[in-house]
Amino acid sequence: MAALLLGIVVLGFAGTIGLLVITAERVLIGRREEQSAIRRLTPAALAVVFEDGTEFPVLSRPDALVFAALLGEFSAQVQGASHDRITQYFEAQGHVRAAIAELSSRRPWRRAVAAYALGDMGSPASVGPLVAALDDERRDVRSAAARSLGQLGKPEAVEPLVRALSSGQIPRGVVCRSVLLLGEQAVPRLLPLLTHAEPEVRAVSAELIGLLGGAREAQQLLARLRDTSAAVRGRAAIALGRLGASDAYSGLDGTLRDRAPAVRAAAAEALGLIGNAAAFAPLREVARTDLFEPARAAAYALGRLAPDLLEAAASEPGAGRFLREAADTAALRARAPA
């Protein structure tokens, strides 16, 4: 009896191992075939992207999938006529229609793959279905849809994406990247979020405006320098620096005395970016006397603002260690081989 049991155990395990090994082997073979197809189809894909009037190749289903994946990869790297040719291919071959249909698949991963692929296909027809996918029950699908809407860059996507930013339904990092892809057109919808009830929403909105906006947004950002949240004040300061808003000097000068060290550091960095010579003295003072983060930021900001004066400022009595570090680093970079 025991021998029989032992035999069954051995056979059972041997069968399981065999199954696992065969599975691994199948995967191995599948991957090799895919690699081979990629090598074979890349020239044809490049021809579709770069050569006007190229006829679309007739492919078997597995090859068509590899071809679509190749074009999808190229899509994110090209613009204009090349991008339009890729979109034409996907529309003509029915990939756009199929992917939109896949957004209703019962399997979440299929919906997510389709949502992501639609962004690379670039078809305006997919905007509506993708907006609807922002409310999908699965986070992966919502994230993929958000990314694709950003990629498509259509005005209709601005409102739902900015709404997603404040709802928290999609990880904020993902939505921020999508909104950045939308570009300047998102700014008017971001401005109202500067007064949103949630500090994190106000903070990321300020950051995005700093990356997408222009000097005309400086006034709204300046108001955020008096926000109750240090995170918002800090990001607003950085945003003002990025915008190069020269009229922000007085506000940022005051922010150098903010109670939060991180905000003072942000203000110092911003003043360095704006490049107003009047900021030299207050920055030098912060570099000499403040805590680590603001003092260091101020010292490096001085290097940006007035590189010629940095060494002299660092050599003054009581200049402190931060100015010395910034001056030595600047000198090193100046002497560095190109």
Partner: protein, 474 residues
């Protein structure tokens, strides 16, 4: 029944229960890992790593490299870290009082210039002798300090880091070019929740290295290193994935982990009082965040790979395993209040009891059970069929678990492209049960003695270094 008989039977029974529980958990984790891996493979097309790379809001990362007597491989290692594909990163090498030519190698290769970098002094560490920047590479900083151990060097690195996230790596490791971007991805997607992430560690011995990057993974020729390859696959592709999916990851390997810098500072940095500072830090992070009621996630990502050189001699391997056992004991003792404590959620109720029962006491239970079962058999207390069945079941299940981990690797990552290497690895799933596992158990048991003697040293470590020429073997 005499007392000896009762003890032998009792010990055999304990080993049996231990074995059933451990393997049931391992099977469960294998199932979880299979599902997670399948999900990851399907998610790859929409992972969006390129978007993260191109985004201006991707936060900077300071890669910290503690180095003690690493003259053989430090240059190659730093070169590979400098060439990582990440939009904003710096490399901070901390020379921890090396007595060899580590600093000279760095000076020669990177043209270092003394620059008095101001340090935060937020965490304690041994005195710094000097700070240097490279004339050739703007993103390289070298801190030269007195010897204080790996944790101490990491603390100096954290203190000198410019970016909001720090990535701790070993000086004898190599990262894949996209590894940093991949391991940071969960943080980029959800920076408010994810505070730390870790990636997979793989064995580099035997693989082809070109300009600081592993271009082709091969199995090591050395048998001990091959056994460790299997162990690493099981640990990273099954164990870590399983714990991470329960949000109860107790360990991010010190060889490759990313942490929020401010949080590391808040918990006092890496502990210099233990030899497994990576485990200790992660447990402290869990404790701190749970105590403060802060929602968080510590994530493991299986795709990004860090390649490490593993010991090829019995002596070095024994020292490493004894050190791990000792460090585990120290960390468990330090965090004993968390064990079984519902206040700490899954980490208190699942991970720590697992570490205590299976990882820490596992060695003595396994060894005791093995000896007791053999003795009980010799004394005629157990039937030959029971013993045969028990060992057959134990070995075969162990083989299934190893084969499953290897299959997961093939399915999910496929870093081992050669069919003959896959075959050899599968053969080793059989051999490791006859001698290797028992040897490791003996070393872990000696670790108890080291712990009782309050041994503090790391023991000498051998370094072969990565050869520099194209197509060479590591």
């Amino acid at each position: 029944m005499s007392i000896v008989d009762a003890f032998l039977i009792g010990m055999s029974a304990l080993a049996f229960v231990y074995f059933v529980l451990l393997n049931s958990l391992n099977l469960l984790f294998t199932a979880i890992a299979s599902i997670t891996m399948a999900t990851r493979v399907r998610a790859r097309p929409y992972a969006g790593e390129e978007d993260a790379f191109a985004s201006p809001i991707t936060p900077g990362v300071s890669v910290l490299v503690p180095a003690f007597n690493e003259e053989v491989g430090i240059v190659e290692s730093v070169r590979s870290l400098l060439a990582l594909r990440y939009p904003r990163h710096e490399v901070v090498v901390v020379n921890d009082g090396s007595t060899d030519a580590t600093m000279e190698r760095l000076h020669e290769e990177f043209d270092l210039v003394p620059v008095a970098r101001v340090l935060r002094n937020g965490i304690a560490y041994a005195p710094v002798r000097g700070t240097f920047l490279s004339r050739r590479v703007p993103i390289l900083c070298v801190i030269d300090k007195e010897n204080g151990g790996r944790a101490d060097a990491l603390n100096a690195g954290v203190d000198a880091a410019s970016h909001p996230y720090v990535c701790a790596v070993d000086a004898d490791t190599l990262l894949d070019k996209d590894a940093l971007l991949q391991v940071v991805k969960p943080i980029l997607d959800d920076p408010e929740l994810v505070v730390a992430t870790g990636g997979s560690i793989r064995v580099v011995n035997g693989s082809r290295v070109d300009h600081g990057f592993v271009v082709e993974q091969r199995l090591p020729r050395n048998r001990l290193a091959t056994f460790q390859t299997l162990e690493y696959l099981r640990a990273f592709l099954v164990g870590r994935v399983g714990w991470s999916s329960l949000n109860a990851l107790p360990l991010i390997s010190g060889a490759f982990g990313v942490f929020q810098r401010s949080l590391v500072e808040a918990v006092g940095g890496f502990s210099t009082k233990t030899v497994t500072e990576d485990l200790e830090l992660v447990l402290r992070l869990h404790r701190y965040l749970r105590t403060h009621g802060q929602p968080y996630r510590i994530a493991f990502v299986s795709d990004p790979v860090c390649w490490t050189e593993v010991p090829e001699s019995l002596h070095s391997l024994s020292l490493q395993r004894r050190r791990w056992q000792r460090g585990l004991g120290e960390s468990l003792w330090r965090h004993r209040r968390m064990i079984g404590n519902p206040h700490y959620g899954a980490i208190g109720l699942l991970s720590l009891p697992f570490l205590l029962f299976f990882e820490f006491f596992g060695a003595i239970i396994e060894l005791g059970g093995l000896v007791a079962t053999a003795a009980a058999f010799v004394l005629g207390l157990l039937s030959v069929w029971f013993v045969l069945l028990f060992f057959a079941f134990a070995f075969l299940l162990a083989i299934v678990l190893s084969v499953a981990a290897s299959t997961l690797e093939q399915f999910g990552l496929r870093r081992l492209p050669e069919a003959r290497d896959v075959g050899r690895l599968l053969a080793y799933t059989l051999f490791e049960n006859f001698g290797y596992r028992q040897l490791v158990t003996v070393w872990r048991t000696i670790g108890y003695v080291d712990l009782a003697r309050r041994e503090k040293s790391w023991g000498a470590q051998e370094r072969r270094g990565f050869k520099l020429t194209s197509g060479s073997e590591a």
